[in-house]
C-alpha cells in the first residue's frame, strides 16, 4: 500500500535526520573493528616492518637471463591480471633491456653482457613523485615512509599519472581484470576496470611483518629491501660498498630503487 502523505513526511524527515548524523554510524563501525571482527580468521601476524624511508637495491649482475621469479611472485601476490594484449597489459614489475632502462647511459661500445642484460623495473617510489603531484583526487599519495600508494577506490581513471610517470611504472585496467587473474590470492584485493595500479612496495605484507614478494622470491638475492635512512640496513651496506645508479635521476623525481650493474 502506498504511504499516506503523513507517513511519507515522517519517513522523509527521519531520513533527513539520519543522513545528518553520520557520526553514529562511525561509532558503530569503530566498535566492530576494535573487537577485531573485521577480518575473521586472519592469521596471527608478526609485528609490522617499519622504516623511515623504504628503498630497494636491484643488483642486476645477479639476475639470470630467463628468470622471472620476482615477477611471477609479485603478480601472483597482488592479483595482477595476465593480459596478453600488450596495449592493455598490467605490470607491477617486469623485464626491460639496459638501453631502455638507462637510455642516457647506453652507448654503442658498452660491454656485451650489459647490453644484453635483462633488468627488472618497477615503481621507483620517488621521493618527489610527479604522479602524486598531478593526481586530481589524491588517489595516489606518498606515505611518510616513502611508499607511493594507490587508492583504487578514489581513482577516477583520468590517466594523467601515466603521462606524468617518467618510468612507465603505471598501468590502467583497460578491461575488467578479474577474468585474467591466473590464481586468485584471497589475501589481497582485486581491481576493477578503469582504475590505475602499480607496485606498492608490498605495503600489505610489510604491515604483516613480511618482506616484499619479489625480494623473497629471488633465489640469487638480487633484490634487497630496507630502510635507506638506517646506516645499518642491508640496502645501505650495499650502497656503501658498490657503485649504484638510479633511473633518469636528472629529472629530479628522486627514485628510491637503486641499480647495481
Amino acid at each position: 500500500m502506498a504511504p499516506t502523505r503523513r507517513e511519507f513526511l515522517i519517513i522523509a524527515g527521519l531520513s533527513a535526520i539520519g543522513s545528518a548524523c553520520p557520526p553514529l554510524g562511525r561509532i558503530i563501525a569503530k566498535e566492530t573493528t576494535s573487537r577485531g571482527t573485521l577480518l575473521p580468521g586472519a592469521p596471527e601476524s608478526a609485528p609490522a616492518l617499519k622504516a623511515k624511508r623504504w628503498a630497494m637495491v636491484v643488483d642486476a649482475n645477479k639476475c639470470c637471463d630467463d628468470c622471472a621469479d620476482c615477477m611471477t611472485a609479485c603478480h601472483e601476490a597482488h592479483n595482477v591480471p595476465a593480459i596478453a594484449n600488450p596495449n592493455h597489459e598490467v605490470k607491477w614489475i617486469w623485464p626491460e633491456r639496459f638501453e631502455n632502462v638507462f637510455p642516457a647511459e647506453s652507448h654503442a661500445h658498452i660491454q656485451e653482457n650489459v647490453r644484453k642484460k635483462i633488468i627488472p623495473v618497477l615503481c621507483n617510489h620517488c621521493d618527489n613523485p610527479p604522479c602524486v603531484r598531478v593526481c586530481p583526487t589524491g588517489a595516489t599519495f606518498r606515505r611518510a615512509d616513502g611508499i607511493v600508494m594507490m587508492d583504487s577506490h578514489r581513482c577516477i581513471g583520468c590517466k594523467i599519472c601515466l603521462a606524468a610517470c617518467p618510468f612507465g611504472a603505471r598501468s590502467i585496467n583497460f578491461v575488467n581484470p578479474r577474468p585474467f587473474i591466473r590464481k586468485l590470492n584471497l589475501d589481497f584485493p582485486t581491481r576493477m576496470k578503469g582504475v590505475i595500479e602499480k607496485c606498492n612496495f608490498c605495503e600489505d605484507r610489510l604491515a604483516r611483518g613480511i618482506l616484499p614478494a619479489c625480494v623473497l622470491a629471488c633465489q640469487e638475492k638480487a633484490l634487497v629491501f630496507g630502510d635507506v635512512e638506517d646506516p645499518n640496513s642491508k640496502v645501505r651496506q650495499i650502497l656503501d660498498k658498490k657503485f649504484s645508479i638510479r633511473r633518469r635521476a636528472e629529472l629530479g623525481t628522486k627514485p628510491q630503487v637503486y641499480y647495481i650493474l
Binding site: 600488450p86 637510455p103 598531478v134 593526481c135 603521462a163 583497460f174
Partner: protein
C-alpha cells in the same frame, strides 16, 4: 527565448535531426565503452591519451578564442564586432561543453568524476583546469544570454553584466594557459616540456577559433539571413592571419631549439612528428597534410586580394582549421607519448567506436551552436520587426 529553438524552417529541422542522430550514435557507442571499459578505444599503456584528450585540448582553444571578438568590442569599442560578440560567446559555450564531455569520456571510472571536487588536490593542474573551464562556461552563459535578452527587449545590456564580461577576457587566456600547463609540467615528456606551450596554444587558438567563426558567419549569411558585415569579417580575417603566423613562428622556434641543440631525446619526438620512426609514420602523414594546408592558407591569407574575397577566405579558414586540428590535436598528443619514456614505439590507431564517440560529441557541440544561433537569429529578427 529558448522556445525560439523549437520552431524553424524545414532545413533547420533536418539539420537538428541529423545532429541528434549522430549524437545518438555517440551515446550508443559510449554505452558500450562504459560496459567494456577503455579497452574499446585504441589507447594503450604507452599511449594512454588519444583522440579524446586531443579534441579536448583543441576545443579549449576554440572556447578561449571568443576573447578575440569580446576584447576589441568591449575594451576598444570596436563597433563592427557588436553584431557578432554574442556569436563568439555562444561558440565558446558549445566548445566548453564539448571539452568537458571529452574529458568525461576519457575517464576510466566516470561515475567518480565529482571526486575532483570532493577531494580537490591543489597541486593538480587537472583540478585547476576543471575549475577555470567550469567558471568560463558560467561566464559565457551569463554574459551571452543577458546581452541577447537585452537585444530582445531593445534596451542596452544591464550594467551588472559588464564586470562579468571584463572578467571573461583574462579568464579566456587562463583556460588555455592552464590547459597547456597540463602538458608543460611533466618531467619525463620532453616533447611537452617547453615553456612556450601556453603561448603556442593561445596563438593556435586565436587562429583556429576566429577561422571557425568566419565560416559560421558565412553559413549564417547564406542560410540564416544574417550578415555579420564586411568590416567584421575583414577584421576577423586579419586576426586569423596574424595569429596563424605567430603560431607557425612558435613551432619554428621550437624546431630551432630542438635541432640546433641536438638533444637526442627531444629530436626523436620531432622526427616522429614530421617523418616517422621505424616505419611508424601515420602521424607524420597527417603532419604533411597540416604543413601543406598551412602553406596554402598563408598564401591566401597574406595576399590582401585573396583574403578580402569571401570564397578564398572561406577556403583559407578551412585550411587553417584543418592544419591546427591535426597539429594541436593528435599530432601533439600522440607525439608526446611516442617514443615512450622507455624508448618503445607503440602504435596508436583510434578504433571505430572511439571515432564514433568523438563524432557524437562534435555533433552535440554543433547541435548546441545550431540551437543557440537559431535563437540568436530569431531574437534579432523579432527585435528588428518591432
Amino acid at each position: 527565448m529558448l522556445e525560439k529553438a523549437l520552431t524553424g524552417s524545414r532545413r533547420y529541422g533536418i539539420l537538428v535531426g541529423i545532429l541528434l542522430a549522430l549524437f545518438g550514435m555517440g551515446v550508443y557507442f559510449y554505452s558500450r565503452q562504459l560496459e567494456y571499459g577503455l579497452g574499446l578505444t585504441g589507447m594503450s599503456r604507452d599511449v594512454s591519451w588519444g583522440l579524446y584528450i586531443s579534441q579536448f585540448t583543441f576545443l579549449v582553444g576554440i572556447a578561449a578564442s571568443a576573447v578575440m571578438v569580446v576584447l576589441p568590442y568591449y575594451l576598444h569599442d570596436y563597433k563592427a564586432f557588436g553584431r557578432i560578440t554574442i556569436l563568439g560567446e555562444f561558440l565558446a559555450i558549445a566548445a566548453v561543453i564539448m571539452c568537458v564531455t571529452f574529458i568525461f569520456v576519457n575517464l576510466g571510472q566516470p561515475s567518480r568524476v565529482l571526486y575532483v571536487m570532493f577531494h580537490p588536490s591543489l597541486t593538480s593542474v587537472l583540478f585547476w583546469d576543471m575549475v577555470v573551464v567550469s567558471v568560463y562556461l558560467v561566464l559565457n552563459v551569463v554574459t551571452g544570454w543577458t546581452v541577447l535578452s537585452s537585444v530582445k527587449e531593445g534596451v542596452p545590456p544591464p550594467a551588472w553584466v559588464k564586470p562579468f564580461i571584463y572578467l571573461s577576457i583574462p579568464w579566456a587566456i587562463s583556460i588555455h594557459t592552464v590547459t597547456a600547463f597540463i602538458y608543460a609540467g611533466m618531467p619525463g615528456r620532453s616533447f611537452w616540456l617547453t615553456a612556450i606551450m601556453a603561448p603556442r596554444f593561445l596563438a593556435a587558438a586565436f587562429a583556429s577559433g576566429p577561422a571557425l567563426l568566419i565560416l559560421l558567419c558565412f553559413v549564417l549569411r547564406r542560410f540564416g539571413g544574417f550578415d555579420a558585415g564586411k568590416k567584421a569579417i575583414d577584421a576577423l580575417a586579419t586576426i586569423v592571419t596574424y595569429a596563424f603566423l605567430t603560431s607557425i613562428f612558435f613551432v619554428l622556434v621550437e624546431l630551432w631549439t630542438v635541432f640546433y641543440s641536438q638533444v637526442p631525446d627531444d629530436m626523436e619526438h620531432y622526427r616522429f612528428l614530421f617523418v616517422g620512426l621505424e616505419g611508424y609514420n601515420t602521424i607524420a602523414h597527417g603532419m604533411t597534410v597540416a604543413v601543406i594546408s598551412a602553406a596554402a592558407a598563408l598564401v591566401l591569407l597574406i595576399n590582401p586580394r585573396t583574403r578580402k574575397k569571401d570564397s578564398f577566405l572561406a577556403v583559407a579558414c578551412v585550411l587553417v582549421f584543418l592544419s591546427l586540428w591535426i597539429e594541436k590535436g593528435l599530432g601533439l598528443m600522440v607525439t608526446g607519448f611516442t617514443p615512450s619514456p622507455l624508448g618503445h614505439l607503440t602504435r596508436y590507431t583510434p578504433t571505430g567506436p572511439e571515432v564514433a564517440i568523438a563524432i557524437g560529441i562534435w555533433a552535440m557541440g554543433f547541435l548546441i551552436i545550431t540551437v543557440l544561433y537559431k535563437i540568436f537569429l530569431s531574437v534579432r529578427e523579432a527585435a528588428e520587426l518591432d
